[in-house]
């Protein structure tokens, strides 16, 4: 289906973003609950959720602060989790780079996993899409995602106070991270990177200032990239033969 007028582009974007409501609502609620359990008040929880808008990094920061890690390590690790967004930014630039600076600044704020995936898919499927349609589509796909992220974080923060400790919400962070990561392990390099990360993090837990995690992540990243490079080379050689 090709959309020819701005209104139908808007509705197409909105429709493409809506399935993510099912992911964002429970995840945001959980963040609100976990942040409250961690000792954040309503203002702190909501400021974090509105300014950062990146669930995995927010959970990472909370988890490391609960662990008394030094501030520098908290920031380094949480920002490392967000580094994937540099890839999103680079992938969106050829499509949206000609938009006015103020517009691009606003787009950057709303750049999240789900809408990035939806927007780039659409732009690649319809190469002739004019810039103003691309902009409309981008913001329309965000509408069902980011406002819900705020709203359900608030609901979670309000509910969090009412949840007694026997519900083991300490374990919400690990479960969330596992749930987020497991679907990403779609290739051998991803799987090996995750395995190295687990083993190295456990083996290096004695390293002071939570630096063990950073080292484990570096080792895991190198493993993933190197395995991918070798697999590609082998594929290339086979094709050449």
């Amino acid at each position: 289906m090709t959309s020819t007028n701005p209104k139908s582009v808007f509705w197409a974007g909105l429709r493409a973003g809506s399935p993510f409501i099912l992911v964002v609502a429970p995840f945001a609620t959980l963040f609100g609950v976990v942040a409250t359990e961690a000792g954040l008040n309503l203002v702190e929880t909501m400021t974090m959720t509105v300014l950062v808008v990146a669930g995995a990094a927010q959970f990472t920061a909370l988890s490391l602060m609960l662990d008394q890690a030094p501030t520098f390590i908290v920031l380094l690790t949480a920002l490392a989790v967000n580094l994937r967004m540099a890839m999103y930014s680079a992938a969106l630039a050829p499509h949206l780079g000609k938009a006015p600076l103020g517009m691009r600044a606003l787009m950057a704020y709303f750049m999240v996993d789900q809408t990035f995936a939806v927007a780039v898919k659409r732009y690649e499927e319809q190469p002739g899409m004019p810039l103003n349609h691309k902009i409309i589509y981008y913001f329309a796909s965000i509408l069902p995602v980011v406002p819900l992220w705020y709203a359900f974080s608030l609901i979670g923060a309000l509910a969090g106070k009412a949840i007694p400790p026997e519900y083991s919400l300490d374990f919400a962070i690990p479960i969330c991270f596992i749930a987020l990561t497991a679907p990403m392990l779609r290739s051998l390099p991803h799987l090996l990177a995750a395995l190295v990360s687990v083993i190295a993090a456990l083996a290096l837990v004695w390293v002071p200032f939570s630096m063990g995690l950073i080292l484990a992540a570096l080792l895991a990243m190198i493993t993933g990239a190197e395995v991918e490079r070798r697999l590609n080379r082998r594929k290339f050689e086979r094709q050449g033969a």
Binding site: L92, A193, V198, A225
Partner: protein, 109 residues
């Protein structure tokens, strides 16, 4: 509990700024410039390199049990992993993890 509020605010503000700079980077400043292939190849693995390492010690030595391995938490983690890897569905994995955790805690009293 996070009690050092000054530090918390510092983390919130710097994390917000840092995350925004990452998001703005190429779209805002660097235009259509392309990242070198080796860097892209490493960036592809950042998420799967950081998150499992962050979780592993929390699963093996949970703070809530004084750092002792806890069967219900370990099995809940495995259930969440299996569901996430199999169904590729985040919500199903979270749900399955909690059902396993509460189920086992109920059974073991």
């Amino acid at each position: 509990m996070i009690t050092d509020k000054a530090n918390l605010w510092l983390v919130i503000v710097l994390l917000a700024i840092g995350t925004y700079v990452i998001r703005f980077s190429f779209l805002g400043l660097l235009g259509g410039r392309e990242l070198p292939e080796w860097l892209l190849r490493h960036l592809r693995y950042v998420a799967v390199a950081v998150m499992p390492g962050l979780v592993a010690p929390l699963v093996v030595w949970p703070a809530a049990t004084g750092g002792n391995l806890d069967a219900s938490r370990l099995l809940a983690a495995l259930a969440a992993f299996a569901l996430g890897a199999w169904l590729k569905n985040v919500v199903a994995a979270v749900f399955g993890g909690f059902v396993t955790l509460y189920g086992l805690q109920y059974l073991m009293g």
